[in-house]
């Protein structure tokens, strides 16, 4: 309450990720030296060891690598059943997410959506891609 200064969300390595998320843009890291993409953010390239990586906006398309339907309540913030999944971005990296709508299964194509949050920037989540 004592300070009006707005604290950026995240940590010093992820501030740009969450600033972009506020504008519904999903950023991953891209290595200018070897071309590899990576997520979560680090200050170096996992693939080639380069000490500088760029940010790149992901296309927002992915495939479900694995998933589970959660049927147990772990906290008041979650209302089962819901689907948690590891998705593989078309750019390569994998990330955790939720999938909403339809009857998804492993291997299905999904597209990016955003979940608005009261106390944090929008969260990337996924919906089944039609057709």
């Amino acid at each position: 309450m004592s300070e009006n200064k707005k604290q950026p969300y995240g940590d010093p390595i992820t501030y740009p990720f969450w600033e972009a998320a506020a504008q519904h843009r999903l950023l991953v890291q891209h290595c200018p030296r070897c071309g590899a993409y990576q997520f979560y953010p680090r200050p170096f390239c996992l693939a080639c060891g380069a000490d500088k990586v760029d940010w790149a906006e992901a296309k927002g398309e992915a495939r479900i690598y694995s998933m589970t339907t959660v049927r147990v309540q772990i906290s008041p913030d979650f209302n089962p059943p819901y689907i948690a999944a590891v998705v593989e971005l078309d750019e390569g990296p994998r990330m955790l997410g939720n999938i909403t709508g339809g009857s998804p299964k492993i291997g299905d194509r999904v597209k990016l959506a955003w979940r608005e949050r009261a106390d944090a920037p929008p969260l990337p989540v996924w919906t089944l891609k039609e057709g």
Partner: protein, 385 residues
């Protein structure tokens, strides 16, 4: 010749702490009781111990437990947290330390009252801003079952593994538990009952999951000279290995391959054995899928064939690969970290003192720990020869 061949290392004492639901002890006093029992088997007292290795029980576990037990000025101390596989990692490290004569007598210790203290939560820790709090916790994946569920789902997708095959593992554990008076669950269990039990995170049912109990154990390792006074047959450690793949599940390179592929390769190479030489195995059965993946990654069957391998009671009493012979984490006890109790049971089997559940003519046994979300592995090969 390698030091561990020239200077062999033995497990000379093992003990369980009080198990199940424990109200008349603290975690440290549980370790105290087990330590005395294990030392008696070793023909030793606390004063002989010059190495102490503890997982959990405080970030400085070896220091806190060492003080409680009165182990002063040890030459070797280690509180490495490697999840449930820590104790197999500790055996690996103790083996090398003893062979190198950095210490003579190492105590491994662990106890938890996670059941009676109701300390278990499935929400992943998110108190500080880190990778977990930003990129995992917001998705509500229950820890650890949701993670293992995704691993099982991927294995099913890739290899056609079925829920019935996973259920066979829980049924095998229960059959062993029925022969162990210390087991928490001993009533008969069928594949159908596993499949009908409540689904927690697809495809894992309640009965695909380990118990939540109190418990722990102590093991004493030493060299040949100090093994002379042991009251029971010393069991020789002939191989050990450890590895890890990931902490956050999307970072696991292949969700169907665990770090057991490395820890097993290392342990079996050190021991100079093949999986077919193994008479029984104590695999970490936090979940049924944990066992199935370990059997594949350790080389007992090919990748993807674990489902068929465990069918028809292969792991059960009378099967060709006895596994979880005390009833495992699925039916005996699972005090948060099972790894030390795997060592205790393997030693008892190799001494021939497992009573009705004794594996006949057991000469080579394996304890295989798994920690985190299928993140870490520790494999230990032991023999009574």
């Amino acid at each position: 010749m390698n030091d561990w061949v020239k200077n062999p290392v033995y497990i000379v004492g093992v003990a369980e702490t009080p198990l199940g639901e424990v109200y008349d002890h603290t975690e440290q006093s549980m370790v105290g009781v087990a330590a005395l029992e294990a030392l008696a088997e070793a023909g030793m007292t606390m004063k002989d111990v010059d190495g102490i290795m503890v997982n959990y029980m405080g970030e400085e576990g070896s220091v806190q437990v060492g003080e409680y037990l009165g182990i002063r000025n040890p030459r070797w101390a280690d509180s490495t947290d490697f999840g449930g596989a820590a104790f197999e990692l500790h055996v690996h490290h103790a083996m090398l330390a003893i062979a190198e004569k950095r210490c003579d007598v190492v105590m491994l210790a662990y106890a938890s009252r996670q059941r009676s203290l109701r300390g278990r939560t499935m929400a992943s820790a998110a108190r500080q801003v880190n990778v977990t709090s930003q990129f995992e916790s917001p998705y509500g994946l229950p820890f650890p079952i949701g993670y293992y569920a995704m691993i099982a789902a991927r294995h099913m997708h890739q290899y056609g593994t079925t829920s019935e095959q996973l259920a066979e593992i829980a049924v095998a554990a229960r059959k062993w538990a029925q022969m162990n008076p210390k087991a928490w669950r001993r009533e008969p269990l069928t594949i159908e009952e596993v499949l009908k039990s409540r689904m927690v995170c697809d495809p894992l049912h309640t009965l695909d999951c380990c118990l939540v109990t109190d418990g722990g154990g102590v093991a004493i390792l030493t060299n040949k000279e100090h093994a002379r006074n042991a009251a029971k047959k010393p069991i020789r450690v002939i191989g050990a290995g450890e590895s890890q793949t990931h902490w956050h599940i999307p970072q696991m390179p292949d969700m169907t391959v665990s770090s057991a592929a490395v820890s097993g390769r290392e342990a079996f190479a050190m021991a100079g054995i093949k999986p077919s030489d193994v008479d029984f195995i104590e695999p970490y059965d936090s979940f049924t899928i944990t066992v199935l993946m370990a059997l594949e990654d350790l080389g007992f069957c090919k990748k993807g064939e674990g489902g068929a391998f465990v069918q028809n009671g292969r792991l059960a009493p009378g099967g060709s690969l006895p596994a979880m012979t005390m009833g495992g984490g699925l039916s005996y006890n699972h005090p948060g970290a099972l790894g030390l109790l795997l060592l205790v049971e393997a030693v008892r089997q190799l001494r021939g003192e497992a009573g009705p559940r004794q594996v006949p003519n057991a000469k080579i046994g394996v304890a295989h720990g798994v920690g985190g979300v299928m993140s870490t592995s520790g494999t230990v090969v032991m023999t009574n020869e």
